[in-house]
C-alpha cells in the first residue's frame, strides 16, 4: 500500500491550492480527482473573478485553473490521479479509491476532503421534464462541451451563479427570457445583475416557478408572484414559452464522505447544508481529517482557494517545520477575512461561527 503524507480528495480550486502548498513545503501528496481534468468548476468559469490580485482577480476562472495547474505540475512530490473516485475513509487513515475498474488502497498521515458542492433542486409539477437543468449542468454543456442547451431559457435564482450563467447563455446566443428570484432582492453581485438588465433581461424578484408544461420536453413554464411567506399568489400567473429552464437555487456541500469518516456534522442554513465542525486549522473532529472549499460551506471560488492554501500550509507545518509559517499564515488569513467582508461575507461568517470550535483536539 502506498503511503503519503497527505491525500487530497478533489482537484478544484481548494484541493489544488492545498496540494500546492503542502508539497511545496516538502510533503508527499496524492491528489485524487473524479473528473479527467484538474480545476473543478473553475474550468467552466469564463468570467473575470473578483477579489484582489492575490486571488488572481480580473483573471477568468478558466485561466486561474491553468495557473494553479502549472504551479502544481512544477512540484516534485505530488502524484495526481484523475478519473478516480474516493470511495471511503477508514479509521487508520486508509482511503480507498476507484480508478476505472481498479480498486486501490492508499494510506495517509492526513486526509483533506475538498469535494466541493452539488446543486439543489426545486420541487414543482413536471420538474422532471427534459429541458429542466441545474444551472451548473448548463454551464458544463456550454463552456466545457460547446453545446447550446436550448433556444431560450428561464433562469430560476438570482444568486451569482444564476446571474453569471444567464450572461453566459446570452453570450452563447440563447434568449434569456427572465431571471426569476423567490426572495425580495437579488442575491448575487449587483454588477452581474446590471449586466443582464441592460441587455433587456427582466429580473423578477418575489417570483417563482408554479409549474412546467410540455408533452415530451419542456414547452412552457408558468411563473407566479410569491407572498411574504413564499407561497404563490393565485391570479398572478405568467406563461413563458421556453424549451429550457435552469435551476440555480443554491448549492449544498458534498460532505457525505465526512459523515462516513465519522466527523461530527451539523446543519447550517447559511453554509448550504450539512457541514463538519472545524477548528481554526479547518480540521474536523476526526484527527488529521481536514476540509477546505465549498464542502465546509458554500462560498466563492476565491475563498475556496485561499482555504486550500491555509490547509496545505497547516499540514506542512504539522509534519515538517515551515520557517516563515506565521508570516505566510497571517497573510492567508487576512486574505480570507477581506474576501468575507461585506454583506454576503457577514452571512457566511455567521454560519462559520456555528461550526468553528476552539480546538476539539486539545
Amino acid at each position: 500500500m502506498k503511503h503519503y503524507d497527505v491525500v487530497v480528495v478533489g482537484a478544484g480550486p481548494a484541493g489544488m491550492a492545498c496540494a500546492i502548498n503542502a508539497t511545496k513545503h516538502g510533503l508527499t501528496v496524492l491528489l485524487v480527482e473524479r473528473d479527467d481534468f484538474l480545476g473543478g468548476q473553475l474550468i467552466k468559469q469564463t468570467h473575470m473573478f473578483f477579489g484582489s490580485e492575490k486571488q488572481y482577480a480580473k483573471t477568468r476562472g478558466i485561466d486561474i485553473a491553468t495557473i494553479l495547474k502549472k504551479e502544481l505540475l512544477k512540484q516534485d512530490h505530488v502524484d495526481i490521479m484523475l478519473d478516480t473516485s474516493a470511495l471511503a475513509i477508514y479509521d487508520d487513515k486508509v482511503i480507498t479509491l476507484l480508478n476505472h475498474h481498479d480498486y486501490i488502497k492508499v494510506k495517509a498521515n492526513a486526509i483533506v476532503v475538498a469535494t466541493g458542492a452539488s446543486e439543489k433542486v426545486l420541487a414543482f409539477p413536471n420538474n422532471d421534464l427534459p429541458g429542466i437543468y441545474g444551472a451548473g449542468a448548463v454551464q458544463t454543456l456550454m463552456n466545457v462541451h460547446g453545446v447550446k442547451p436550448g433556444k431560450s431559457v428561464v433562469m430560476v435564482g438570482a444568486g451569482n451563479i444564476g446571474l453569471i450563467v444567464s450572461y453566459q447563455l446570452l453570450q452563447a446566443g440563447v434568449d434569456v427570457k427572465a431571471v426569476v428570484e423567490a426572495s425580495d432582492s437579488i442575491g448575487g453581485y449587483l454588477v452581474h445583475a446590471q449586466k443582464l438588465r441592460r441587455l433587456g433581461v427582466p429580473i423578477l424578484t418575489n417570483h417563482s416557478v408554479k409549474e412546467a408544461h410540455g408533452a415530451t420536453a419542456l414547452e412552457e413554464l408558468i411563473i407566479w408572484k410569491l407572498d411574504e411567506n413564499f407561497s404563490g399568489i393565485a391570479g398572478t400567473e405568467k406563461r413563458i414559452e421556453t424549451d429550457t429552464c435552469c435551476l440555480s437555487v443554491g448549492l449544498k456541500p458534498s460532505s457525505e464522505m465526512l459523515r462516513q469518516a465519522g466527523a461530527e456534522m451539523t446543519y447550517v442554513r447559511s453554509l448550504g447544508g450539512y457541514v463538519p465542525y472545524i477548528n481554526q486549522n479547518h480540521e474536523t473532529t476526526v484527527n488529521n481529517l481536514f476540509v477546505c472549499g465549498d464542502v465546509s460551506g458554500i462560498e466563492e471560488a476565491s475563498s475556496a482557494m485561499v482555504e486550500g492554501f491555509i490547509v496545505g500550509l497547516t499540514l506542512a507545518n504539522r509534519f515538517k517545520n515551515v520557517p516563515n509559517f506565521s508570516v505566510l499564515m497571517t497573510d492567508l488569513k487576512t486574505q480570507l477575512k477581506d474576501l468575507r467582508a461585506g454583506e454576503t461575507g457577514e452571512h457566511i461568517m455567521k454560519g462559520i461561527k456555528q461550526i468553528m470550535r476552539g480546538d476539539h483536539h486539545a
Binding site: 473575470m48 473578483f50 477579489g51 453570450q171 477581506d338
Partner: protein, 165 residues
C-alpha cells in the same frame, strides 16, 4: 430598487455621473459600482492612480476626476463590467461612450448599432467610432459609441446583430 430590479434609477445615475465641466477637459471614467463587494482590480489597473478604495477592499471605489485621463484601462479590467468612459464627441450635440463588450460578432467601426438603456430598452441606432480588442484586454473589447446628448444618463450598452441597419 437596484437590488430588486437590477437597474439603477436615472436620478442616481445623474448624481454619480462625471460632471459636465470635467468632461470638457477630457474623457472621464464613470464607475457604476453601487454595492460593497470584495474587489479591487479597478484601483490596481489604473496607471494614473485615479481610482482608490479607502480602507477595506469592500469599500466602493472613488474616482479622482483630475487624475483620470479616460484611457479606458479600468473598463476592461473591471470584473463586473461596471465602468464606462464618457467623452466629448467632435460634434457638440454628441458624447462618446467607451463600453466593455463581450459578445461575438464584434461590431466594426462605422457600424450602426442598437443603443440600450439600463433597463435594456431601445434608445435608437448609434454609430460605432472605434473597436479595440488587443491581447492585453483578455477578450473584453472596448467599443466607442457616438451617443446624442439627450441620452447622456440613459445609454448603457449596445446590441449588435439582427437589429442592425
Amino acid at each position: 430598487m437596484l437590488k430588486k430590479t437590477g437597474y439603477q434609477e436615472k436620478e442616481i445615475v445623474k448624481k454619480e455621473f462625471p460632471p459636465l465641466k470635467h468632461l470638457k477637459k477630457g474623457p472621464k471614467a464613470f464607475i457604476e459600482c453601487y454595492q460593497k463587494i470584495p474587489c479591487n482590480p479597478c484601483t490596481t489597473s489604473c496607471p494614473h492612480d485615479a481610482i482608490t478604495i479607502k480602507g477595506d477592499i469592500i469599500n466602493r471605489p472613488k474616482l479622482d476626476l483630475a487624475k483620470c485621463v479616460g484611457c479606458g484601462i479600468c473598463v476592461y479590467n473591471c470584473p463586473g463590467l461596471a465602468i464606462m468612459v464618457v467623452g466629448q464627441a467632435d460634434n457638440p450635440d454628441y458624447k462618446t461612450f467607451d463600453i466593455p463588450y463581450e459578445f461575438y460578432p464584434l461590431p466594426n467601426k462605422g457600424d450602426r448599432v442598437l443603443g440600450l438603456n439600463r433597463k435594456g430598452e431601445e434608445l435608437g441606432m448609434f454609430t460605432v467610432l472605434r473597436v479595440l480588442n488587443n491581447k492585453r484586454q483578455d477578450k473584453t473589447a472596448l467599443v466607442r459609441v457616438k451617443v446624442p446628448n439627450e441620452f447622456l444618463y440613459d445609454f448603457a450598452t449596445i446590441k449588435v446583430g439582427e437589429d442592425n441597419e
